[in-house]
């Protein structure tokens, strides 16, 4: 028996077929619900309550897409989401890059407790910070504002970004800065002119993850934004599908339109997220 757990070179044909069958089955389970969203989005308004199981419905139409694009607040939701997510990503990055560098290179007082604290924030249940933040926002009259929402998102994205960037800076050899110091650069100058340009890929990935966290967030946005005009797309899309009324067509069309760019971005970058997480975790 060729090792089942090793990268087999000599799998028997029977075993190869079995492996492919299992993988195809798993892929079907993974994509079927998504295909169903496509199906429902293509249905005509009249056949919302269809019991048909075919992927492309017989009466396929783009009616739902038209309705979403031209008759709903879709564009407004997108604009709101963009404002909130871009601000979150930018501010997190600007604050986290220097902090991550300090954690990576210096032995300042409180470094070790600080690192542990960054990890402990991952243990907080959502309400642990959300409730105090919500009360703070009310007292500061920041409820129902994008600033208030970005404020809440910082509590998630900032610790995470610092952790990821610290892990990345750890992989850059110190020799590079030392060379810059010898050439007469100040430590601050070395950070800005040597380390930051080298880290562009890690910086953009980190910003992207902050962006995507804010982009897809529902639970916090629901609390902070009550004014319909300020709704981000997750709030808006959920209103498309009332609690009991099953208005699936427009919801599905909106869901697909919004998911496609996020899914593509995610696919392109997921391997970096994984290596970032494990890198940080292994190095401690």
């Amino acid at each position: 028996m060729a090792g089942f757990f090793s990268r087999a070179r000599g799998d028997s044909p029977f075993k190869r077929i079995l492996i492919h069958l299992l993988l195809i089955l798993a892929c079907l389970v993974a994509i079927y619900p998504v295909l169903r969203v496509l199906t429902v989005s293509l249905r005509a308004g009249g056949s919302v309550f269809s019991m048909d199981l075919s992927i492309i419905p017989p009466d396929a139409t783009l009616e739902n897409y038209k309705q979403i694009l031209f008759q709903s607040d879709f564009w407004n939701w997108l604009k709101n989401s963009l404002i909130v997510s871009l601000s979150t990503a930018l501010v997190s990055l600007i604050l986290a890059a220097p902090a991550g560098y300090a954690f990576s290179r210096f032995k300042f007082v409180g470094r070790q407790p600080g690192l542990v604290f960054l990890l402990v924030t991952q243990l907080f249940p959502a309400t642990m910070l959300l409730l105090p933040l919500y009360i703070m926002l009310i007292k500061l009259s920041l409820i129902n504002t994008f600033l208030g929402l970005v404020f809440c998102y910082m509590s998630i994205s900032l610790p995470f970004s610092i952790w990821i960037l610290k892990g990345y800076f750890d992989t850059i050899p110190v020799d590079l800065e030392e060379a810059a110091w010898i050439d007469g650069s100040t430590p601050m100058g070395a950070f800005f002119r040597v380390i930051l340009p080298l880290s562009t890929p890690a910086l953009s990935i980190t910003a992207l993850f902050s962006f995507m966290t804010a982009w897809s967030e529902y639970i916090i946005a629901r609390i902070v934004l009550q004014n319909q005009g300020l709704f981000t797309w997750p709030l808006g899309t959920v209103t498309l599908q009332g609690a009991y009324y099953t208005n699936w067509g427009p919801f599905s069309a909106a869901a697909l339109l919004i998911s496609i760019p996020v899914v593509v971005l995610f696919m392109a970058t997921s391997r970096y997220l994984v290596s970032g997480l494990t890198l940080g975790a292994v190095k401690g």
Binding site: F4, L123, F124, T127, Y134, I135, M136, S155, T237, S270
Partner: protein, 317 residues
Amino acid sequence: MSVISTAMETAPRKKPASVRFREHMRRNRLAYILLLPAILVIVTVVIYPFFYAFNLAFTNTNMYNINSPDKTPQYNAGANFAEIFSDPQFYVILGRTVLWTVINVVCHVSLGMGLAILLNRNLKIRALYRTLLVLPWAIPQVIVAMMWRNEFNTQYGSINLILQSIGLPAVSWLTNPFWAFVAVCIVNIWLGIPFMMIIILGGLQSISPEYYEAAQLDGATAWQQFRRITIPFLKPVLTPAIVLGTVWTFNNLNIIYLITQGGPNNGTQILVTYVYRAAFDYYRYGYSAAFSVIIFLILLVFSLFYIRATRGAGEVT
């Protein structure tokens, strides 16, 4: 001044505290400058709210007395904690949360490991499989929850249509507490497999095939190879992934809140959905803060315990 400090540097021990402090500051000044902006924001959005939550937990704050001129929130000597611990419902929900977490994490790890093992070989369309299998993780969770909620619809959802087409009875997924719990578990298992699969696949790829070849020469069975080679080598990636996965599942609000809101009849309520509703649907701020603190402490104890346990085992082998 500088003469003194350089003289001090050459003397190997017992520098006065003030000199050591000055040296430390000189060496680390940049660190404090770089950290300052992030620390200011973290103090505002994480540390202050964190302590605020602890303080809130010992008060009777709610929506009606928080901003009212004639009623002010009072410290209530741990009455929130007493109420939570004397409520039988707390233990039911705690038990369900543990069950929810165990079911999900066990399925995530075992199915993720199975898929990773299948993928860890020379297949021509491996990249395609990998891409399709990661899809559930890539879709925003709000959409995942809403699309599955539709599919669990008793009459028009595809799950029941498929069940009926193979001759099984339709299940009232979201109106029966037991089936609703099964439904949210199915969704969350579906959602969480790709993360574990990718982590484990990365781990598997770093194991040299030579170990397996040597084991086969010694006549080790597939199971023995799995136990003695695969698992020990995966441990460094698996331990943090399991801790993270457990914490994320324990704290996962999105799926249950969006699919069932904890219903029907509180039958799918887990700790975080319960406390979210207590805070924002019933406006019991002090009580919810106490509840959040309890959830946090449970997770803290678990993480410390788990990390210590696995680290101990790692040292033995």
